[in-house]
Amino acid sequence: MIIFDNVSKKYGGNIGLTRASVHIKKGDFVFLVGPSGAGKTTFIRLILKEIDADSGSITVAGKDITRLSRREIPELRQKIGMVFQDFRLLDKKTVFENVAFAMEVVHKSRKQIKQRVPHVLELVGIADKADRYPHELSAGEQQRVGIARAIVNQPRVLIADEPTGNLDPKTAMEIMNILEKINVRGTTILMVTHAKDIVDRMNKRVVTIEGGRIVRDEQGSYGFMDDFDYDSDEEVDRYVF
């Protein structure tokens, strides 16, 4: 679904990403972890073509996006659902309108919107608050709306940049359950997080970036980033519990 092949990106002198190669398959649930400034957001912005790679190639849903023209970018983004740490809901719109907005933007009809939105709100468990405004909701509820908006157009991939960053652990786990549910229904998920406990608990594939390089790509736990010798079973025993 998403293939990075030897992708590098520099911001002037700053390294964003260096020779990164990752293959995320359809239906995968992948955590993208690493210290602050490692290049995680850079990775996501490259997928959305908010920024262009300096070298290497990026394929999204079977299409090489490195040579995409400006006009083709909306089509790419329609295949991707985005969830943000700060939710980014429109405060003058109700829950229903926020989710409907995503459909209006891609020219869906009124009828389609009326059918689809309640269904998605049901899925994320916020159907009873459809007429509320974002400021009348808890953080966890706002993030449910954020997820509903991201999936309402049935994207191939859901990308979440620290979606639980502003939530308490219990609410965070509720959000993770929703994401897992969405994943089970066939949507590929790429989630950036710093939350070690969540990553460990979910037992999914974990891609680790450090200083712009992919330093680890394994199933299971958060792992460690410093001096990690992936070939030694002893080390694994020592670091992974």
Binding site: P74, R77, R88, L90, V105, V106, H107
Partner: protein, 297 residues
Amino acid sequence: MFSRAGYALKQTFSQIWRNKSMYLVSVLAITAMMLILGIFFISFVNVDMFTTTLNKDYNVIQVYLDENNDGAEDKAVEEAILALDGVDKAIYESKADALVKLKQRWGDNAYLLDNLQDNPLPNSYLVYVEDKDAADYVAEAVTEIPGVDDVTYYRDTIEKLSKITRFVETASMIAMIFLIVVSVIIVANTIKLTVHNRAQEIGIMKYLGATDWFVRAPFILGGIVIGLVSSLISTGAIYVIYSKIIGLIQADVIRMLSVELVPADYLVFNLLIMCAALGVGIGTCGSIISIRRFLAK
């Protein structure tokens, strides 16, 4: 397709409503611009029309005959005129014909001429010449012919008028460019404010895969609305004022200059088309300028 246009229009009007005072100010400013433009346009068209009318007489020289001439002497003058190089024909206009013409020209004021004891107008020849050079030469030469009293020839007037026309034309152009630039800046600033109010929304729209045109449409339409409303108001005002002016001075203009003012309907219709096109252009440019930055990836 229809619903897309409907959506964009709905967005446009809710946007205008939310920023109504700003939109109103820019409509007023651009209306003022267009009023100035309209005044230039009206002056230009009238002066131009006047010049064209006079230009038709460019090749006519009126040669007035001495009062004391008899028929044979007049005939001799005619022959002398026809003998000059570049003369096409010479048509006799008796003093009686001249008075009838003058009465026509004076229209409602013609009764003033009824009290004349004697017809003070002289007999004359209307001499038609081939071209401008011939006109100069003939006008000069006829004064030498015995029995010729005076000569009128529009050349000087026409040249003065052409100068005025060119001046009005240049001034209109400069004014127009200046006003267009100012108007674009005004619209751009208004739209920029609207864009700012919706910056967060635009950012989200782009993540959701909205096309540039989808994002742009309500702003461009907003700019066009400003331009169109301004053109309607300004043209309407000019129509009213110009009709009044025509009512007041048309008769005098006809008497003094023997031309009519350009009719209000014709002129204002053209002005409306011009202002509307200009308004659409100004609105489009202004809004595209102000939203460009926000559409960068």
